[in-house]
Structure formats: C-alpha cells, structure tokens
C-alpha cells in the first residue's frame, strides 16, 4: 500500500504535505479477519494527521472509493486527495468469509462463484451461448496480462485448450475462468483543475462518475442485466456526453472476476444489444487489437486484490488516456471507461476519463 501511495505521489509530483485527505477502501473486514485497518493504516502510509475516510461497498469498493475521492475534490472540500485501496489475500480466505453457515437455511452457499454461476448458466441458456465463449475471455485477459508487469497471473503458454481442460469449480465456471487470490494495492492522486493542469505528467480528466446500489435479493430482479448497473451507466454516460458507447469509448476496464461477466456487461453497458455480447467476444472485438479492447491490463481475471480491483479498473482506464499503459497501451486512446461491481449484483461504480480537458 505504501509503495502504491508513494508511486502515485511521485507520478503526480506531490508529497504527503500536498495532500488534504486520505480516502481508503477495502473489501469487508471478514475477508482478512482484521477489523477497521484504516485506523492504523494512515500511520503506516505516512499520512498522520490527515482526514481519513473509509468506503465500504464490498467488491466494488475500489471504484466507489475513487468516486468518493473525486466527489470531495469536486465539492471543493479538498483540493488534492490520495485515494488508496488494497487486499492481502495471502493471509486470508475470502471463500471462507463468503461461505458462512447462516441461521435456519441450508448451508449450500459456496463462495462467490457458487452464487454467481447459476446466473451465468441462465445467460447461456437464454441466448443460446456456446460454452467456449467464457474460455475465450479467460485466454484473452491472460494474454493481456503478459504485457502488464503488475498483473499477478502470468501464464505464458495460456491457450483455449488449457482453459477448457482446467477443472470445473462451480459449473459452468472453470478454474481458469476465475480470478486468482491476490495481494495488491492501487493508489491515485485526484486533484482540482488548477493542480491537475500543473501535473508533471499528462493527467486524465474525469468526465463523469456514478455509483448505484440495489437490494441483493428480490422478486423479479434481473441478475443478468441488473437495473442498478443500467442506471449507473446511463448516469455516467450522460455526464460524460457518451451517446454511442461502442463508437465513442476507446478502451474499457470492466470488473470481470469470472469470464462470463464480460459478455454480460458488454450488453448491460450498452456496447451491444441483449444477447449480442458473446458475439462481440467471439469476433475478437474486445481483444487488445480489436476495436473495443476490454481489460487490456489483464483485468480482475489476472489480478484480484479484491478491495483494490475496482480502483485498478479506474486507474488503468486513466493510464490508457494518459498514454502511460506501457505494453498494454491501446494506441490513440482518448476516452476510457472504468467499472466496478460488488456484492450480489448490489453495488456498481463507474467513471469515464478523457485525455482531453472538458
């Protein structure tokens, strides 16, 4: 975390002295068994005496933490904030934390994959999607990861055959169609117009941010195209002047912890019609060389420090429009989308960033 924070400060040409507040996010405390770590982390980060706020929105927290930080700057309450998020899964077990015995109901809740898998099956059945589509996403993201030195999973000989032959965990999700358990952190410096204009490296300009929350379980909830995500996208597109996402957005970093979420999100976010997302995947449009690269960084499928995963999507989107994404840079990227999701399709956070000052 400290490394991430220091590198963000260096990139922005700042020191802690220039930072007005610390906005911190991580996944639920039970994931690591350490309660309220933000109380001592401000000290560990070297941010003693700064106002500290922690954001809680399950897996989407990295994204919504960045949105909260952006809101503070937008409000004028703070002029420069450092926002940071993290997870240390090597000393914890998120699947354990997500599989507790609940009172009076059968103990069949088998981690995140166990909850989400039935909805992926519904997606496949509703639209007649071939089984290998999920595997194609898994291969594509791991190939992208090979171009990102920060990606956790580096599988040089990744192939469709390797993914298809990897063991089933929660049908239809195979081992290699799932995210890893990672340690990691992400930090961003968000600044007002005046400070951003003086940044030593080109800044990413935030065109719009949005968050939405919804109930976990209720009658009639569409878990394939969740209403809360449709609303979140509509809001951020309106703020950013996006009317045709497929044409206008150059690159998107979407929170895809299981391969099947890529085609589902392509539809929900309006990149194509319902039932068409898998065809975009199959056509290669979402590959690094395609016309709509998704998760050029390797995505959550290649690194999942849960609390940081959402902010990594936001940060990677920013790196793309700043032209600083290194080997996984999408050439000429001017407008990028960052997206995060959490809970039982309960929380969404998004932002759109641009190379051009609005």
């Amino acid at each position: 975390m400290r490394q991430a924070a220091e590198r963000a400060l260096e990139d922005a040409g700042c020191t802690w002295k220039d930072i007005d507040a610390l906005i911190l996010g991580k996944a639920p405390d039970m994931f690591e068994g350490v309660v309220m770590p933000e109380l001592y982390l401000s000290d560990a980060l070297g941010a003693n005496g700064k106002p500290v706020l922690r954001v809680h929105t399950a897996g989407s927290v990295g994204g919504s933490t960045a949105v909260v930080a952006a809101n503070y700057v937008q409000s004028g309450a703070f002029r420069r904030v450092l926002t940071v998020s993290f997870e240390k899964q090597s000393e914890s077990n998120a699947t354990w934390a997500l599989s507790p015995r609940m009172p009076f109901v059968p103990h069949v809740n088998a981690g995140a994959g166990g909850f989400f898998a039935p909805y992926m099956r519904l997606y496949m059945e509703r639209y007649g999607v071939p089984e290998h589509i999920g595997c194609l996403v898994a291969v594509k993201d791991r190939q992208n990861a090979l171009k990102n030195p920060y990606a956790h999973l580096q599988i040089p000989d990744i192939s469709l055959e390797m993914v298809m032959q990897s063991p089933m965990l929660w049908e239809p999700i195979r081992f290699l169609e799932s995210c890893p358990s990672s340690d990691g952190a992400c930090a961003l410096v968000l600044a007002d117009e005046e400070h951003a204009s003086r940044s030593p490296n080109p800044p990413a300009w935030i065109l719009g941010t949005s968050t939405r929350a919804d109930g976990s379980m209720y009658a009639g909830k569409d878990n394939i195209h969740p209403a809360s995500l449709i609303a979140c996208a509509k809001d951020v597109y309106a703020k950013a002047g996006i009317t045709d996402p497929r044409r206008q957005i150059d690159v998107a970093e979407l929170y895809v912890p299981f391969s099947w979420y890529e085609p589902m999100y392509l539809e929900t976010l309006g990149f194509c019609g319902e039932g068409e997302g898998w065809k975009l995947v199959e056509s290669g449009a979402t590959a690094l060389g395609g016309d709509l690269p998704i998760n050029a960084s390797g995505g959550v499928l290649s690194s999942n420090p849960i609390g940081a995963s959402g902010m990594l999507r936001f940060g990677e989107a920013a790196l793309q429009v700043r032209g600083m994404a290194g080997q996984h840079q999408v050439e000429g990227a001017r407008l990028a989308l960052g997206h995060a999701f959490g809970g039982a399709h309960s929380y969404y956070a998004m932002w759109a960033v641009s190379a051009d000052k609005p």
């Binding site: 109901v105 209720y218 909830k221």
Partner: protein
C-alpha cells in the same frame, strides 16, 4: 547458526463467534410452520409477489409484508450450479448441485440442494419436490428439507 529457530512469520488463530439470532415476526412464523412440515411465505401488497422464506418486507417495493400464504413443497429449478469444491466447514461432499428453486406460487427462488439424480441430468426448468427429513428430526429450520429430488417423469 543451526540452533537458531526459524523465524515465526505467522500463526493460525481460529476465531469462534457465537451469537443469538432474532428471527423477527415473519421468519418466526415461517420457522414455526416449517417445524410442522408446512411452508409459509408472505405476499407483498405492492407487487403481489410471494416471498419464501418471508422477511416481513419486500426489498423491491420497500414496504412491509403481512399477508401469509401457504405454498407446496414442489417447484422448478430456476437455475443451478454443480459445485466441485468443498464449502469451508461443510461436510457435504462435492460434486453436489446447489440450485435456485422456485416453489410453485412463489416469485423469488430459494437456495437448496438437488439430489437423488445424476448431476448431469439436472436442468433449468426441472420439476423438483422436497425430500423431508424424518419427522423426529424436524426443528425450526429450512433444513427439515434435506434436499429436492426430481418429480417422476421430469
């Protein structure tokens, strides 16, 4: 040097959290009935949807639910997954089927197991019926139903 013990880098500290669960009015009613082998839910006065187990409110409409509805122990598999890895702290041996089961007359699926069938034959829309545990084992729990099994001819 050889006498120097290896540095301790971590220890396992199991934590046990025991708590009393307050069911509330709606769930108390459900649990009292399920102990008698009956399944009751509640209908939302706003959207008319029936919830089993009832929670005393509808999360879609944001309003309280009071009207009680008794339903049958039969329904369809809305969707499912075959779980191939063990659930931490759970003796069920994988692979097993975890299914979202929509009981007839209800509008939101509940999570339960499907058994007594080859996992490969389970499908979306399959009709299933509750396999109750022996009556003497019934308690205030949805686990009085051991699992759901296919209805003949399904």
């Amino acid at each position: 040097m050889s006498d120097t013990p290896a540095p301790v880098t971590g220890i396992e500290v199991p934590i046990n959290l025991q708590y009393e669960f307050t069911a509330g009015k709606a769930l108390t009613r459900f649990l009292t009935r399920i102990r008698e082998g009956r399944i009751v839910g509640q209908r939302c006065p706003g959207c008319n949807n029936v919830y089993v187990p009832p929670r005393g409110m509808c999360a879609a409409c944001g309003i309280p639910t009071e009207e009680e509805v008794e339903v049958v122990d039969e329904g369809i598999v809305e969707s499912f997954t075959v779980v191939h890895i063990p659930i931490p702290g759970n003796p069920i041996k994988p692979p097993f089927v975890a299914a979202n089961i929509l009981l007839d007359g209800t509008d939101m699926a509940c999570l339960h197991r499907v058994s007594e069938v080859d996992n490969a034959r389970v499908h979306v829309g399959m009709r299933v019926k509750a396999r109750w545990k022996p009556r003497e084992e019934w308690d205030y729990t949805f686990e009085n139903i051991a699992w759901f099994r296919p209805v003949e001819g399904s």
